[in-house]
Amino acid sequence: MDVALTTKSSIGIKGKMIAKKNYKEKALMKKTLKMHEESLSRRKADEDVQEGAVPAYLLDRENTSRAKVLSNTIKQKRKERVGKWEVPLPKVRPVAEDEMFRVIRSGKRKTKQWKRMVTKATFVGPGFTRKPPKYERFIRPSGLRFTKAHVTHPELRCTFCLEIIGIKKNPNGPMYTSLGVMTRGTIIEVNVSELGLVTPAGKVVWGKYAQVTNNPENDGCINAVLLV
């Protein structure tokens, strides 16, 4: 009652200040009342339907994420039309030749220096036979030869240990591609028959490209990410 009297009778700036303060309180009170009303009233549950529907026989089973394993043909066609492939590592630090090769001295007086030994991880293929040692210019030590790569699927987020089929391209140069050297950023082809992929035409996919993401000579294993 007193508050009302003072509010009504005060004039000037004081009156305005009191009025403003009262208005603020009124607005706050209204808001809290409305909030309480909302929780009292029964709300029609309009919950959103979950994504990723599965049939009844798969509901109780834990499955890998339902993201599509295959990319559409449309996506592929678009990529091919552009001419460039999007790779996870577009730019890689270039590797110098003296880092890649070590000079091997040969001959009776160890003066001949035409032989080189590769210091990075390589892939040689199943039917590989060395050239006769006398004529072998590039030595690929068997300790640095790898046949399998740990390939991660970017959408499924799981890693498989897949066999390497071949080296597609080494960004450091065509010579390294032909030697089979695998450094960071190299595109390799891996055997994916384990994943059970099928093209829209019905053919079984057994080889896919992957890009090497680590430095295999430092780690002792090849980690790659699948290019989908």
Partner: protein
């Protein structure tokens, strides 16, 4: 008689139940399946020439008798037993092309079902709608809204007049398929999602009124379509009930994740009573199949496509078809169950002194290397097909349970199978996004049907054999034709 150049061979023709047709007779060496068919037709005094297939010691006879005996080294002096089996009179054309890819669903298609007369198609999806499709124009017809969660199961009544669907919330909706409208409200009762729906067979009650649904909450409920309410609750399972089937003699079979199968009966007073518990499995029971399942599903509709006028006639035809499908011996239907323990069990009712007939394991069908997802008897009850997550489909003999052959070709788990109405072809859909049609006679792949962009969850062959519908995670419905 010398072995070379002898003209005839002693054979004894018997039918599937070992009753001989006449006595042992001399049959010329160059008699093949065609000549034997004529012989059987004349012996049985058939008015029309019915097709038969012949089996010698469980292997099908495809060449002439003489060549068979030479290649297998069977002595001419012994009587050769040839078992004849009637094949379906009609022949279904194998599907080999996708006639239409219809989009419409906004979510993954989870279940697909043709009506028993083959005229309508319903599909349930993750976008909470049930859609009805027009088969003549291959376009969408009705969109039935009413569910609030993914539609997991869809089932037509055997008289093709009612459609029922169950969703992930446990609600059941009844639809009028001619208008695509929801009849009444969504029926609640189940507390968790619905795994399967089965209708009462047409020969027991016509027009169809009652259906049973099974759910993850461990109960099976029997509902009345016209009253729109639960009649009986069959509780007893301790874990989710994964599949339910209503047998032709009125027994309801439910398979559950607690690895038991329960047989229920509805008494005269309208109560649901547990008859037996079958406990031979060691893992979740994923799927059940009955030898008369196809006939129960299609009711009075068959390949002759006749339209009987009255309800009584339909009931009578359904009853005749059911008796024929059971087999000549007065034995009730056989049950087959596929489970997570990688085995399948073929059950047969035991002939014991107990008044109630319990199912006893006839055979344990092992061989799968991963869980068995779906088991299905062929429409003539002769074969059992099983789909498993080990990428193979296996074929077993429907009476003895003996392994016949494995169909390999899929590169990922096989989800569901469907038979053609003449039991000559089998269709399987898989996680690798392809469908494959297998020929039973040659035991090999007939057609590969790629085209889906993602996993195929549901497949159905229409009972009139014209079309196949498939749907999956890529949200389009594909119709395939021969």
């Amino acid at each position: 008689m010398e072995t070379d150049g002898s003209e005839s061979v002693i054979c004894l023709l018997t039918d599937a139940e070992e009753t001989p047709l006449g006595s042992a007779m001399y049959i010329p060496r160059n008699a093949g399946p065609l000549q034997l068919t004529n012989l059987v037709n004349t012996f049985l005094n058939n008015e029309e020439k019915l097709p038969y297939s012949f089996y010698v010691s469980d292997e099908e006879l495809l060449v002439s008798v003489g060549t068979y005996m030479e290649s297998n080294g069977v002595s001419v002096e012994n009587v050769l037993k040839i078992v004849y089996r009637q094949q379906a009179v009609f022949r279904i054309r194998p599907v080999n092309r996708c006639s239409q890819t219809i989009s419409g669903h906004v979510g993954e298609i989870l279940c697909v079902s043709f009506s028993p007369d083959g005229k309508q198609l319903a599909s349930g999806s993750g976008d909470t709608t049930v859609r009805l499709w027009d088969l003549n124009t291959e376009t969408p017809m009705f969109t039935c809204r009413g569910h609030k969660d993914h539609v997991l199961a869809v089932a037509w009544s055997p008289d093709a007049k009612c459609l029922v669907s169950g969703d992930k919330d446990g609600k059941v909706c009844c639809w009028d398929p001619s208008k695509g409208e929801l009849q009444g409200n969504p029926l609640s009762g189940h507390k968790k999602w619905i795994n399967g729906i089965a209708w009462e067979p047409a020969h027991i009650s016509y027009p169809s009124r009652r259906f049973v649904t099974c759910s993850k909450d461990g109960d099976a409920r029997i509902w009345d379509f016209t009253l729109k309410k639960t009649l009986i609750v069959l509780s007893g399972h301790t874990q989710a009930v994964t599949c339910v089937k209503w047998g032709g003699d009125g027994t309801i079979y439910t398979g559950s994740q607690d690895s038991t199968i329960r047989m229920w009966e509805i008494t005269q007073k309208g109560q649901g009573v547990l008859k037996h518990i079958l406990t031979d499995h060691a893992g979740w029971v994923n799927s059940l199949g009955l030898s008369t399942e196809y006939v129960l599903r299609t009711g009075a509709f068959d390949h002759t496509r006749q339209q009987p006028s009255s309800d009584e006639e339909m009931k009578q035809i359904a009853l005749e078809r059911y008796i024929k499908a059971k087999g000549k011996v007065d034995s009730p239907e056989r049950l087959v169950s596929g489970s997570d323990d990688f085995t399948i069990i073929l059950w047969e009712p035991s002939i014991s002194l107990q008044p109630k007939q319990k199912m006893v394991t006839t055979a344990r069908l092992t061989g799968h290397q991963q869980l068995v997802n779906h088991v299905y008897f062929s429409p003539n009850g002769q074969w059992i097909a099983s789909a498993s997550f080990d990428k193979s489909v296996k074929l077993w003999d429907g009476v003895t349970g003996k392994f016949i052959t494995a169909f390999r070709g899929h590169v990922n788990s096989v989800y569901q199978i469907s038979w053609s109405a003449d039991s000559r072809m089998l269709l399987s859909c898989s996680k690798d996004s392809t469908l494959k049609v297998w020929d039973i006679r040659t035991k090999s792949l007939k057609h590969d049907l790629p085209g889906h962009a993602a996993e195929v969850y549901a497949v159905d062959w229409s009972p009139d054999g014209e079309k196949v519908a498939s749907g999956g995670a890529d949200k389009v419905l594909k119709l395939w034709k021969g």
